[in-house]
Symmetry: C2
Subunit: 404 residues, 2 copies
């Protein structure tokens, strides 16, 4: 069977008119003789409204009831989509997580799909039906409704594509695809036609908000081609696929910038073995993620300056931990929220020497100071002053010929 | 087990604050060592909003998807109630129709509960849990969500009371109970402390909107005591029970008036056998319910006038049927929307002669003209000019000493 999974996000089904549009997109796939499996999120705003209600009931609302509560949102969206498809003359019906069932493991609010019973859906597809499946939810072994935390409906779509061996998973959203950099920050950003899972993972982890990293990783592990495209504009989107499917890749595929990093500097730390660990261990046990790290060589060989970045939301907690931990000795503690992490990403880097130099030179030419550096095989990140963010995006975009 | 079923209507759970109030009512029963089963409707307005959405999708929205759509409302309400009870320190959880399961038969939108699996709920009650069960819905043999048409959540509550052999079913609503007559029409109306199923059935069928007749009938057949009371005011309500439980009943328990009847008169109908049938048969096949009927004796023995009442909403359809049916011969066709049906209801009538005379005399004293009469064992209905409705209620309320 030529199966395609179509996933629609909350904005795509945000109004009745948009649901009608979505139904016509789905119908077009069916007319092209695809077996179509649809996954939908809740209508935009519905989930937040339900969460608000739960908070009004109690600040510490039961997690199992939370799942019952919010899962109603997808139920509504799916019944409306199926209703519209039937009105349009197609055989269609909604399938709630428990009806298939989609089985999950793990705690409420943060379960993971670990099994999908295929029989009913396969029969339904063979009869020519279009199943409209509730994203973001499943059922656990106690027959209770669960929701899957990270990745949400995207993750549901990828798992359905995996279990049903779909040819492709199309993620319909409110943007046209993945861009070389954030088009809201730089209007010359170009839509990327094709990108590898690995690059997309880095892009998503570094601030591109199109998809959650966990879903991309699931797609990568299961070798599922993902197409990200707009449900409003009829244009091809971005294909996320394995590296070997990509010919003629550029050195750099995309550039990202973050807005929520903060820099922490401990001045005058005793320069002896184990000192970095004594700082990072309490942060780690408090679930604070340390990202970029740099340690200056001390002039006298006795003291050093240690700089690292964390998410700004963790700043107060970090301060508290460092100050209250008597084992950490330093002379001065500095914080800086006015930083931005600029990253260039591309699998082409692996085989192309001198990319780092080109990046640094391009930034230097514009007098942009690099505060911290971190690299992986397929990305280079630098920390710069926040005010230089846009300037950095523009110069790097040009340097690596992403305008073309 | 001393089981009580508590049912909360849409107004009772209409806001977060009201849900908190409802949770405290439930908690009080639990503290009194009752095993409590709760049934809830959707939050007020939610179901109508969902129905509106379905109509925007299609005028002829799929009935199976309609059930998926609207059943989400009770799911939300029940999770919020359970969440609040847990916050208050009770063991509680929501149970959706399919989780129990509550099995239904019949078409979508209009199913009937025919089986409730008791095992899980009984275990849960034994563990001290308070199950919060979605009203108005169940699951059919195809594992699809269904809704029960008439009676809604009241019917769910009665059926749960039946299957779990509850001592009592308490219907919490936005009024304090059942009144001798509509308190909105006559401010001296008194709350009825106890009323028989039969009287309540007549009251409900004749315009008292507290409960749907079908639910009262189910309660009667299963001998389930119902208490109707307010979820906002802490006062005892009205007990609906079997006749033999009622001592010292008044002759008349309640008085109702309708606002949506119309009178149809065919003047100069040929007075021969089968003529009434030739008129009422086509109405019946078109699902038009003929209520009160009177046929005047003709002066010449050849012609007669036939008068009957129907619901005003059926008036146009009725006109069309009578005019287009060539077999119905008459000289003139008259319609009158300006009528009201006043009924007195009471099991005491069976054993008390002269009630009809007292009613007619009381109305005559106020110069209220009786147009049509119909009676049953426990009620007398008269059709009067709509402008006399309030006057009739007042005089009858006084005549049968309902003010006391």
């Amino acid at each position: 069977m030529k199966i395609v999974v179509l996933k629609f996000g909350g904005t795509s089904v945000g109004t009745i008119e948009k649901i009608k549009k979505v139904a016509s997109i789905i119908g077009n796939y069916r007319k092209k003789n695809y077996k179509v499996i649809v996954v939908s999120s809740a209508m935009r705003g519905v989930t937040n409204d339900l969460i608000k209600k739960s908070r009004q009931i109690s600040k510490n609302f039961s997690e199992s009831e939370y799942d019952v509560l919010v899962s109603s949102g997808e139920q509504v969206a799916c019944s409306l989509i199926a209703g519209r498809l039937k009105y349009n003359g197609f055989k269609s019906r909604s399938w709630l997580g428990w009806q298939i069932p989609i089985l999950t493991q793990g705690p409420h609010k943060n379960s993971r799909i670990n099994q999908i019973n295929k029989n009913k859906i396969i029969s339904y597809l063979k009869e020519g039906g279009i199943p409209i499946i509730t994203g973001f939810q499943g059922m656990n072994n106690d027959q209770r409704i669960t929701t899957i935390g990270r990745g949400g409906s995207d993750a549901s779509a990828i798992m359905l594509a995996k279990f049903f061996k779909a040819q492709r998973c199309v993620i319909y959203t409110d943007v046209e695809g993945v861009y070389t950099t954030d088009p809201n920050k730089f209007n010359k950003a170009k839509k990327i036609k094709v990108i590898s899972y690995e690059e997309m993972l880095e892009m998503a982890s570094l601030g591109a908000k199109v998809m959650q990293p966990v879903s991309i990783q699931d797609a990568r592990l299961n070798r599922i081609d993902i197409e990200v495209k707009s449900s409003f504009i009829k244009k091809s989107g971005t294909l996320i696929t394995k590296k070997s499917n990509i010919i003629n890749s550029k050195i750099v595929t995309g550039i990202t910038s973050t807005y929520n990093d903060s820099k922490v500097t401990l001045v005058g730390v005793k320069d002896k073995p184990g000192v970095a660990a004594s700082i990072f261990k309490p942060l780690s046990t408090n679930s604070i993620n340390v990202d970029m790290v740099v340690q200056n060589i001390s002039a006298n060989g006795k003291e050093t300056d240690l700089t690292f970045t964390i998410k700004t939301e963790d700043l107060n907690k970090t301060k508290k931990i460092i100050i209250e931990n008597k084992r950490i000795k330093f002379r001065k503690l500095l914080f800086d929220k006015r930083v931005s992490k600029i990253s260039i990403i591309g699998v082409g880097m692996i085989t192309t020497p001198g990319v780092t130099f080109r990046m640094f030179q391009a930034l230097a030419n514009k007098k942009i100071n690099i505060q911290v550096i971190s690299t992986s095989e397929i990305k280079i990140s630098v920390l710069v002053d926040k005010k230089d963010t846009k300037k950095a995006l523009i110069v790097l975009h040009k340097e690596f010929k992403l305008n073309k």
